[in-house]
């Protein structure tokens, strides 16, 4: 059993998921994890699939060629490690950033987090509001190692937000187990 990372992006229309997964079923692949969403009008798929031993990345990409052509998808298949890499453990926090759109917001915020040893686990960004007054919004999930105080990272984020002219806040997002 080999593992592959499959990505496909194309102008949103009905049938993209059905067409791509049809080929995956046909080649004996099983979707183990996936994230799919519309990004600025384009449907973007990212999948980690497990395939039979005799399947390689080139052959899977070739098999996906038909739906890619029919639906005008940008497609890529790469072999990945069969082992599941582990992420650092710690407390879950959510960082929210919003303000007037300008280049560098994501980079500056994530650079600060990386330097603090914070591991980013999920990022969603959107440009919202009117075209003449766009607002940039980012929601980011992060794991703080036990050695780092959330309040201290929050204070640094608040400072950075002031420099960038955006609202930057952080709150614990540990789920309650009911």
């Amino acid at each position: 059993m080999g593992h592959f990372a499959v990505s496909a992006v194309g102008a949103d229309q009905p049938g993209i998921v059905a067409a791509v997964t049809g080929v995956l079923v046909g080649t004996g692949c099983n979707i183990e994890d996936s994230s799919m969403s519309i990004l600025r009008g384009h449907f973007a798929m990212m999948l980690v699939v497990a395939g039979p031993d005799d399947l390689d990345a080139a052959r899977l990409e070739q098999a996906l060629g038909d739906p890619a052509r029919d639906l005008d998808l940008v497609l890529a298949v790469r072999a990945i490690d069969d082992d599941v890499p582990t992420s650092p453990e710690g407390d879950q926090w959510t960082v929210s950033v919003y303000g007037a759109d300008r280049p560098g917001i994501v980079h500056e915020v994530t650079k600060l987090l990386a330097e603090a040893g914070v591991n980013v686990t999920d990022v969603t960004t959107r440009v919202i509001g009117d075209a003449d007054r766009p607002v940039y919004a980012m929601l980011l999930d992060a794991t703080l190692p036990p050695t780092i105080a959330g309040s201290e990272v929050g204070r640094r984020l608040d400072e950075l937000g002031r420099t960038l002219g955006v609202e930057c806040a952080m709150h614990p997002s540990e789920a309650d187990i009911l």
Partner: protein
């Protein structure tokens, strides 16, 4: 008195509506004790419903004592045949469940609740609960209707990997 295994998806009993309890007898009292005992085994667990231990009856245990998000707190409580009489003010927060491994999700729940049910002493009670206790009550009552938090997440991108395994 027994700690019972907590059933997880895809156990069918988790998706079936539970039956009302007819009278609080020795069996019902034993079920109440099992719910409390099993809930106590996981320190982070604040509630457990009968279907989660494989019993298709309308009973759950809850205890939000000491929880930082709790306002109302009735302490350790087992309720039979509980029903929501009034619900007000939905707020979204992240939940996990002992019966749903690996995932958490953002769920809208009422913040103020009037609930009616029967206690382990056979007493009919009307409870006013709010904040975190209200969330816990709604999560447990959902279990009695065969509903999991996954049935209530606010959107497809509101489901997350649970990082800490308890």
């Amino acid at each position: 008195m027994a700690v019972r295994p907590v059933l997880r998806l895809p156990e069918a009993v988790l998706k079936q509506p539970a039956m009302s309890v007819v009278g609080i007898d020795d069996t019902a009292r034993a079920l109440a004790q099992d719910l409390v005992d099993t809930m106590r085994v996981s320190p982070a667990c604040v509630g457990l419903a009968a279907p989660q231990i494989g019993v298709g009856l309308r009973a759950f245990a809850v205890d939000v004592s000491g929880h930082r998000k709790a306002r109302s707190c009735h302490g350790e409580l087992v309720l039979f045949n509980a029903e929501v009489v009034l619900a007000h003010g939905p707020v979204v927060a992240r939940e996990g469940c002992m019966s749903v491994p690996d995932l958490t999700g953002d769920v809208a729940r009422a913040t103020r609740l009037v609930v009616r049910g029967i206690t382990v002493d056979g007493e009919d009670r009307v409870l006013h609960v709010d904040a975190f206790e209200a969330r816990a009550f709604q999560h447990e009552i959902d279990h009695l209707d065969g509903l999991l938090f996954l049935d209530r997440v606010v959107s497809a991108d509101a489901v997350f990997h649970r990082k800490v395994y308890r």
